[in-house]
């Protein structure tokens, strides 16, 4: 082989994709039709089986770690884990991709221009590493969004000049009030107290989806949970790990592990699928760290998505009607990474008046995938358009989902074509259903009229 004639740069140091994982791949190809980038391109190189072969080739010295084709494939992957969920051989694909990205990041860091490194350092380490900074930035953003500034900037064409148009469209609308963890303790309002739970406030969630956090809190209280919101918590680290900064991911993870240990809660509840999946994988993140491995594994075993938990402990009575057709978009990190698919549908089906209409390819990634919109704008847009087509075919009034990234991606996609279909978290809909309840009468006019826009 020609590729053997020169010395290739391979994986080095810590966080090497383990051969025990890629050797499990028997190349059966079952993953191909489930992979969003494969179904869009129909090119093997853009498939999980192809990417595993590439990672193996780098490991065995046949391919260069920093070859453009390899780096592109590691970036083009959405890390949606659809392949992992269907793999009959049990290949844990994420355990190959994330170290491979970390390796690329380390090998190429010094080559990037200084302003790029600075931007990455600020966004990954400062912004996500410190919720105070995030709130400060969010406050500025909120000022921008609420003032005449936004409209004048949009109209000026400045965004296009700097290539920020798409990014701006995807920036979440900042909540009027933040959901800041301050060691709050909210007791259960159900007759029977079932559990004490630790509520993960999140990073983007607590500034841009504060209402969803509040809804989560209310539903948990109704369903018999004492809810703690400890101040020691922070970002889950998913963004860092997916971007190839596993070291910083571990720094963030330690904070949450300590906060959970100190809280004495039974369950660590999270309402963002992406965060939930990262939190459930702390055990694997620290597998090679004898000091933290056991603590991380214990922590992960206690993490529960809020929909999974509510489905398990049972919804409290008192749901009111929402007369609307809803379609459910499955977040990758809920359906594939956490294998939770039925619980959200069961919960939606419990809401009186709600009609669940399945869309095609409900579990195919919408293209949001963390910072994917920024790193792979073209593929992100193709997948967004595909998702919007599938949504429109189902003709819903509401799209329900369970992850902020997916929500933003669909809101932006629907806005682009001027369709007023509401995008809501399942827990928001449950909360709304509870508040629509009127004990005296059976049927009542709900606020669904405003929803079916």
């Amino acid at each position: 082989m020609t590729s053997l004639t020169t010395k290739k740069q391979g994986f080095t140091g810590s966080d090497i994709p383990p051969s025990s994982v890629y050797d499990q791949c028997v190349r059966c190809g079952l993953c191909l039709p489930t992979c969003p980038t494969y179904v869009e391109t129909l090119v093997e190189t853009s498939s999980p089986r192809g990417r595993i072969a590439l990672i193996k080739a780098v490991s065995e010295g046949h391919l260069d770690l920093t070859s453009p084709g390899f780096m592109h494939q590691m970036e083009e992957c959405l890390d949606c884990r659809a392949c992992e969920a269907v793999c009959p051989s049990g290949v844990e694909y994420g355990r190959l991709l994330e170290p491979a990205r970390t390796q690329i990041e380390r090998a190429t860091k010094s080559r990037r221009p200084r302003h790029m490194r600075l931007a990455r350092w600020f966004s990954l380490r400062v912004l996500f590493g410190n919720l105070g900074v995030m709130r400060l930035v969010a406050s500025l953003l909120r000022f921008y969004q609420r003032s005449v500034l936004q409209r004048s900037v949009r109209e000026s064409g400045l965004l296009r000049t700097f290539g920020l148009e798409k990014l701006e469209a995807l920036t979440p609308r900042i909540s009027p009030r933040f959901f800041t963890p301050r060691n709050q303790r909210h007791p259960s309002v159900a007759p029977e107290r079932k559990l004490t739970v630790f509520l993960h406030a999140g990073c983007v969630m607590h500034v841009a989806f504060a209402e969803t956090n509040a809804a989560t809190l209310r539903v948990l209280q109704r369903c018999g949970c004492d809810v703690l919101i400890p101040a020691g918590q922070g970002c889950c680290g998913a963004i860092a790990v997916h971007a190839g900064d596993m070291d910083f991911g571990r720094t963030l993870a330690r904070r949450n592990i300590i906060a959970m240990e100190e809280s004495g809660a039974d369950v660590y509840v999270v309402n963002a699928a992406g965060c939930g999946s990262a939190l459930k994988e702390y055990g694997k993140l620290f597998a090679d760290d004898p000091q933290w491995a056991a603590r991380a594994a214990t922590f992960s075993s206690r993490v529960c998505d809020v929909l999974e938990l509510v489905d398990k402990i049972g919804l409290a009575p008192g749901l009111g009607a929402i007369n609307a057709a809803v379609t459910y978009q499955e977040p990758c990190h809920l359906v594939h990474a956490q294998r939770i698919s039925e619980a959200p549908r069961r919960l939606l089906a419990r809401i009186p008046g709600m009609l669940l209409r399945e869309m095609n390819e409900s579990s195919l990634c919408c293209g949001s995938a963390g910072i994917y919109n920024v790193t792979q704008p073209e593929m992100a847009e193709r997948l967004q358009e595909r998702k919007i087509r599938n949504i429109l075919d189902a003709q819903p009034h509401i799209v329900a989902t369970a992850n902020p990234g997916c929500a933003l991606q669909m809101i932006a996609g629907l806005a682009k074509i001027g369709r007023r279909i509401h995008v809501r978290h399942v827990i928001d809909l449950l909360d709304e259903s509870y508040s629509a309840y009127m004990p005296a009468s059976g049927v009542l006019p709900s606020n669904a009229a405003s929803i079916s826009g």
Partner: protein, 503 residues
Amino acid sequence: MRLRCVRRGLRRGGGKIGVGPRRQVRKHSEVHLESPGVLAEELRQIVGERNVLTTDEDLLVYGYDGTWYQSKPLIVLLPETAEQIAAVHRLANRERLAITPRAMGSGLSGGSVPSAGSIVLNTARMNRILEIDEDNAVAVVQPGVITGDLQRAVEARGLFYPPDPSSLKQSAIGGNIAENAGGARCLKYGVTRDYVAALQAVLPQGEIIRIGGKMVKNVTGYDLRSLFTGAEGTLGTITEATLRLLHKPRFDATATAAFSRIEDAAAAVTAIMRSGIMPVSIELMDRITMQCVEELSPIGLPTDSDAMLLFAVDGNHERAMLADLEAIVSIARDHNAGEARVAQNAQESAALWAARRAISPALARKRPHKLGEDISIPRSQLVAMVRRVREIAQRHALLIPIFGHAGDGNLHPNILCDRRDAAETARVRIAAREIFEAAVELGGTLSGEHGIGLLKKQFMELDLGVDTLALMRRIKNAIDPNGIMNPGKMFPEPGGLDAFDLR
């Protein structure tokens, strides 16, 4: 023309007639070093810029299929029309370049592993279902349609495409036709060939032919549909297929029987098939297979038994169908089945078939590697074959679980091993050879549904005899005089059985 000056420097194929078809195809190194740019440019003109892949990464991932083999093609093309494929064939013929057609690359005999330096012609982008004709009960499809997608599409209209290779969720119709794929339902419904009503194919020299049609009966001339189905891409590239459909039976049901001796299970299979009942499937799992499945996902298979049979029936009359299933269970009991029962509900059936589908991955996890065999023998030789395999396993100290489609005599002995262990690999090679020899001795054949490809080509003469193999070569040479279509597959290399190579 620029190409001509490039060509002048190249050694032309000698046209020597070796044991294989005439090999005039250029060696990888020649092409790669002297003319990749010019050729790529001409191929780009034919299929379009977006349908040409040339990077090291691309060439690496189009170099394998579902087997152990790995190679490196010259270039990968993703054509979108039959006309483009015809133009590629003409160019390859002119330049004496090899072509390897490929659909999803999930094959189990190396048929779509490119010969080094060949053009991979991947039909993945020809993936439309062109027509579902309910009046004639046929579907017209392009070769890149995933088999399971076709099944779903026709079932939505109450129709039924029966061939069900285990790979149906990832394999495509083009590959299924090229390998003449089977599956568990073949006992009652037959293999892919039985559903090919018509084909459009591009011949090696670029002619686009249509054979067959939507009619049911057709005896005009040679049966070329049968020749091209299962030809493993050695005679041309399939560009469209018209597939027969049935009506989906309204009911189906499942039963199982456990046996303390695998011989009793085999005898029960023969007795059931003599009884006049036609089950959809009779699947066999031996003890090691059951143990491996239970280790992966315990569902309570009878691992203390020597073998288990899994029966499926279907029909439009539920009571008649269930009566058949009861009769099957009672025949199994007559043959010393320890436990024999009908699955009581859909979930129970689903769990049993999930266990059946879990076999391959379960075996793959038991040891680092596995060599999946696919011998097919007359049903009456089931007992003899199982004994031979067990004896071979013992003699070579190898773990060889046996499972497969017992009803039609198609067994999958899987040799579990670690290829990094040279001594063990040497034993695997001998054991594989002995299994092929045993199958042929018992009146069977090398492959029931996976095809010959690279894996079994050295055994072709053993199976077919000198004259039949020579006839196949003459057919190959007549259709593909320059030997450009998928060279190195199906026909043995010099060296006979000693050249059997697992790589």
